[in-house]
Amino acid sequence: MKNIHVSTTINGDPTEFICAPDESLLDVLRNRLALTGAKEGCGTGDCGACSVTVDGRLVCSCLVLGAEADGVEVETIEGMADGDKLHPLQQHFIDKAALQCGVCTPGILVAAKALLEKNPNPTDTEVRYWLAGNLCRCTGYDKIIKAVQSAAAEMRGE
């Protein structure tokens, strides 16, 4: 297989990498770029642990080829905090204990951020449907929904 040279932007930084044609964006992020925040849960787009945004759209990076990243803008969990200052979602997940093992957390944070950018004031039902593709086997989801809502309230200035 002939490797492919890809020029992309990740968390605002111009980035270049070489990948195999059948290599997923998730594998590129984790194995070639040392961005291990996105996790591989199922590898088939069911669990959402590998969530990133591509040109602002929330996607599963396991269902994107690395080659497809050419010329697009990718945002990962690593770009969420501003230096040492955590994003309100990250802070509220800690404050509300909205995680246990933490494997699903990066994906849920990326997904929740995408939701609040589109809808700053969602109902609980809207949050639950939006996050239906992010599976968590520890928390029972309730604390996750509450943490998203309290972060949303802070972001609205309430």
């Binding site: 069911d46 080829l65 497809e68 593709g133």
Partner: protein, 287 residues
């Protein structure tokens, strides 16, 4: 495996036509990449069509809309024009997968995957949607109903691929709806499904109807006998009951742990009835 991203349709056709091994089109990738990982398909060539002109666009045309083959569910759902004109088509497609899957999945991909349970296909067939196909002999149009052949098989020839789907214009008092049954509320595959499109006259009588059923036969079914039961009526109880039974009559589903033959057959009729009532209300009728 080679990965190619051609810049025009002619080059895409040439690549697909010349490939002697297995070729796959990549737009949203939510089926192809899963199949790739599961080892269900080992393509020699992947043709990424996302650089083709207009492939990601929704374009008004003759009072309807042309939807490019790489338009994601998220983009389609945000389009006020298509959502207003063909709400049943949009709601069918939006039922597929998670937010993440909707960020990538395409309606044309759902059609070309060839599943009898594809949630966007009954709505497209009830809408009389037409696929535009590029191929070695040029461009041709084909009714969406003639695309699926059997589970996993479609009617396209070697070197051909769908570049867009066209949703036609419709009169003011017309609408559509799609319903499916799944054992949970999200992230599942239809056990039975129905898409209904209706046109009404000024006093609320149904003057044209299309009823399509999903997941109850090897391909999505267009049931003219069911449509005939409600054409000329205001969707009274007796007509709806006749329509539901006409739907159940043509069902030929599989029997599996997700739904028995009996359950799928009955449910298809019930869903068609409910979808017809939603479409009727959207079109401005009152039962």
């Amino acid at each position: 495996m080679r990965y190619e991203k051609p810049e025009n349709v002619a080059d895409a056709v040439k690549l697909l036509h010349a490939e002697t091994g297995v070729a796959r089109i990549l737009a949203g990738g939510t089926d192809v990449l899963v199949q790739l990982k599961a080892g269900m398909v080992e393509p020699d060539l992947i043709v990424d069509i996302k650089d083709l002109d207009g492939i990601k666009d929704i374009t008004p045309e003759d009072g309807g809309y042309r939807i490019g083959a790489a338009v994601s569910g998220a983009r389609l759902g945000e389009h006020a024009g298509v959502t207003a004109l063909w709400p049943g088509v949009v709601e069918g497609f939006e039922l597929i997968g998670s937010t993440q899957v909707q960020g990538r999945a395409t309606m044309v991909g759902n059609l070309c995957n060839g599943s009898p349970a594809a949630d966007s296909v009954p709505g497209l067939i009830a809408a009389n949607a037409v696929a535009r196909i590029a191929g070695p002999d040029g461009t041709r149009d084909c009714a969406v109903i003639d695309i699926p052949v059997s589970p996993g098989k479609i009617s396209l020839a070697k070197g051909e691929f769908i570049t867009s789907v066209f949703l036609p214009k419709r009169p003011e008092r017309a609408s559509d709806a799609y319903l499916r049954f799944i054992p949970r509320t999200e992230m599942d595959i239809a056990v039975a499904a129905a898409g209904v499109s209706l046109e009404l006259d000024a006093d609320g009588t149904c003057v044209a109807a299309c009823v399509a059923l999903g997941a109850v036969a090897p391909t999505v079914l267009l049931v003219d006998a069911a449509a005939d039961c409600i054409i000329g009526t205001k969707l009274d109880d007796a007509s709806l009951k006749a329509m539901a039974s006409a739907c159940s009559d043509v069902c030929n589903p599989i029997d599996d742990r997700r739904g028995t033959i009996e359950f799928r057959t009955q449910t298809a009729g019930v869903l068609a009835k409910r979808a017809a009532l939603i479409a009727y209300e959207r079109a401005g009728g009152r039962t």
